[in-house]
């Protein structure tokens, strides 16, 4: 050990001193890259890396390249804070995270504290998927930017769509037992009662996040409740296993979901989900403009023919970051954050605006139904060749916006 020490020290010194010379904009990607939700985190990493490559191919930003530094948080808030610390110690000033509002909440708190204590070394959080509405309302932070629609915005879109369907009489709410699942259940109950007082909510259930292997008991309960529709914010395996168990028990309900299009889920649903699963999403694979074709083809070439670059929020986050750096003519997080406020960029489906008052991206949303691919539906759902999402309804950005209670403290 004693003989090794000088070598280790030398290595550390060279790596530490090597950083400033590299002149790169580094983004730490803190998400689960192993464990039950590892597949979901891995997909996000692929998309973020791809987004960085796209930006670098266009010359990067201010003469610098964007580099992604993956960090596996195992879906643990505790672990994420350690990784955040290590990212900051490495000189990384931009954090990207999305899976789990439990993690995002902890990161926001930690970043707020860090920035207050170290005003010359601030950090900006690019949130691509943690959709707890609190983050852009009561808990809003100047350092946090959300590129996904929040849970309430998605529920507003879903319930608006359900409003017109008179076949819906009895609704069951099944969600994951943590902040996000609670928000989904709360919003579903409030909005559904307001829009459809005649609809009865026949059951409300919370189950532990990423722990349930067999959903048959839950399905039996839904069956017994007589529900015709289920609203769920479940993601990852929690959704795939639920739909699978529903098929096995011959449960005939429509699922209204947030994440039916994400990695692993369309594959697990298969035939069982056809015509029964709806999704609200900012991505419409079969409605992309021709200008996106080269990007999609390049993505498929890199990550497999059945892959679907559905995490538009990650591309948006990199595009906004680059645009804000150019506008601020600096990579300093405080200046970049100011520049990003109120910025509007043209997205694939219409304009996207980073609302200044709460840092919530306002973008178009889509309601889709899981169906057989074919005809006009050329792009199959992630991981499949035979299934796709058929567009039911498009909501333009302004139609999805909701008021905020945020009182932003600007430094």
């Amino acid at each position: 050990m004693n003989r090794l020490a000088p070598a280790v020290l030398a290595f550390l010194v060279t790596t530490v001193t090597a950083f400033p010379a590299a002149a790169q904009v580094r983004i730490a990607y803190i998400d689960p890259l192993s464990g039950a939700m590892g597949a979901t985190g891995e997909h996000g990493l692929n998309e973020l890396q791809f987004a960085a490559e796209l930006a670098n191919a266009k010359g990067g930003v201010l003469g610098q390249k964007i580099e992604i530094v993956p960090m596996d948080n195992k879906l643990s808030a505790q672990e994420s804070l350690i990784l955040l610390k290590s990212a900051i110690d490495q000189g990384i000033r931009y954090i990207s995270q999305g899976n789990g509002s439990s993690v995002a909440g902890a990161l926001i708190d930690a970043i707020n504290k860090h920035n207050e204590r170290n005003p010359d070394q601030t950090v900006v959080f690019l949130n691509y998927a943690a959709v707890d509405p609190d983050f852009t309302n009561d808990k809003c932070s100047f350092w946090h930017f959300r590129f996904d629609a929040n849970s309430d915005m998605k529920m507003e879109a879903l319930t608006s769509h359900m409003q017109g369907d008179k076949g819906i009489r009895k609704v069951y709410l099944l969600n994951q037992d943590y902040s996000f699942g609670h928000q989904v259940a709360k919003a579903a109950r409030a909005m559904l009662t307001a829009k459809r007082p005649d609809v009865q909510i026949v059951g409300e259930e919370l189950h532990p996040l990423a722990k349930v292997k067999d959903f048959s008991p839950y399905v039996a309960k839904i069956q017994a409740s007589g529900a015709d529709s289920v609203i769920t914010g479940n993601w990852g395996n929690d959704l795939a296993l639920l739909v699978k168990a529903a098929r096995d028990a011959n449960l005939h309900v429509n699922f209204y979901t947030y994440y039916a299009g994400t990695v692993g889920v369309p594959q697990a649903m298969g035939e069982a989900g056809v015509d029964h699963v709806k999704v609200v999403s900012y991505w419409n694979a079969n409605g992309t403009p021709p200008s996106m074709e080269p990007m999609i083809e390049a993505y498929k070439k890199k990550y497999g023919a059945t892959s679907d670059p559905y995490s538009q929020a990650l591309r948006s986050s990199v595009e906004f970051l680059v645009a804000a750096m150019k506008k601020a003519n600096s990579t300093d997080p405080a200046k970049v954050a100011k520049a990003m406020e109120g910025m509007t960029l043209e997205g694939p489906f219409g304009p996207m605006t980073m609302r200044a008052e709460d840092h919530q991206l306002i973008q178009p949303l889509f309601i889709g139904t899981f169906v057989k691919a074919g005809g006009k539906l050329k792009r199959p759902a992630e991981g499949t060749t035979d299934f796709a999402f058929r567009l039911e309804q498009k909501l333009d950005g302004p139609a999805t916006a909701r008021p905020t209670t945020c009182k932003m403290r600007r430094s």
Binding site: S34, E42, E205, P217, A220, N250
Partner: protein, 295 residues
């Protein structure tokens, strides 16, 4: 009534799968005194092998070939790894199997990636078997139950009615005597370890397509298997059987009953209940339901 019956069926099905998974672990523990942390990893390997073989040759050959292949890997692990670790005591063994679990997970990542593989139930077993009120009971679940019960019968007969079973049971209580009588105990150890992992793999072939085959499946099922073994009694096959069924049924009914304590509904704590049972069991009756020894 409808919910109660459906829940009972679901509970028994889940319990029987748990038994398939834990019987191998019980066998290994009772014979060798090794708490195999990598047991659920062999379950996962079984699922992946089952997936690969069933897409090439068919599901039913996979049902036999995958456990054989995994059993061979298990035997090799015992022969070239565990046997050496054994010399330095139980802690080394524990650490060895713990490390092995992580290695297996990484190997699975490298070969099959981190996303679920499309391992499907064979067409001949897909579809409903019978209708119970308004819900159907899938044929595949009945098949799972049948395999599990057949496995219990075969194991029981093998251990109590054959000469090999006699040696294995003798080694449980008097390993030195068995060795003195001229039996090659290390080789028996190897076969038992291989057999135990093969049983886990069989559960994997069957459970992999019933649920989802992905690299997180071992970590998800790992702890619950230990609960079964501890509650049932370390080393008792019958105990493991009863504990599996009990845990399956308790967990299912906790979800379906609308019962809450201080506003915390029972269904929200359902997945934690087995661990609660284990802790209670360790305090009240450390040797488990039908355990034959104290530690």
């Amino acid at each position: 009534m409808e919910l109660a019956l459906a829940s009972l069926l679901n509970g028994v099905t889940y319990g029987l799968l748990l038994f398939m998974l834990s019987s191998g672990l019980t066998l290994i523990f009772s014979m060798m005194g090794v708490l195999n942390f990598a047991h659920a990893s062999f379950y996962m390997l079984g699922a992946y092998f089952g997936y690969v073989i069933s897409t090439r040759v068919g599901f039913f050959p996979a049902l036999i070939l995958a456990p054989l292949a995994v059993g061979a890997i298990g035997a090799a692990v015992e022969r070239f790894g565990l046997r050496r670790a054994h010399a330095s005591g139980h802690v080394s063994e524990l650490l060895f199997t713990f490390g092995l679990a992580i290695v297996i997970e990484e190997v699975v990542h490298v070969i099959w990636g981190k996303t679920p593989v499309p391992y499907r139930v064979p067409a001949s077993l897909d579809g409903p078997l019978f209708t119970l009120y308004s819900s159907t009971f899938p044929t595949y679940k009945a098949f799972m139950m049948a395999v599990s019960v057949a496995m219990l019968a075969a194991l029981y007969a093998g251990l109590t009615r054959t000469r090999a079973g006699l040696v294995i049971r003798a080694a449980l209580s008097r390993p030195d005597m068995v060795e003195a009588l001229g039996h090659n105990v290390p080789r028996v150890f190897m076969l038992v370890f291989g057999g135990g992992t093969a049983l886990a793999a069989l559960a994997g072939v069957i459970g992999g397509n019933a649920f989802i085959t992905e690299p997180g499946m071992a970590a998800a099922l790992g702890p619950i298997v230990f609960v079964v073994v501890v509650v049932g009694g370390l080393g008792s096959l019958a105990g493991a059987f009863i504990a599996s069924l009990a845990i399956g049924i308790v967990q299912t009914f906790a979800v379906s009953l609308d019962y809450s304590i201080h506003g915390m509904s029972l269904s929200r704590v359902a997945p934690v209940l087995p661990y609660l049972i284990m802790v209670a069991m360790l305090i009240a009756r450390p040797r488990g339901l039908m355990g034959t020894r104290e530690s």
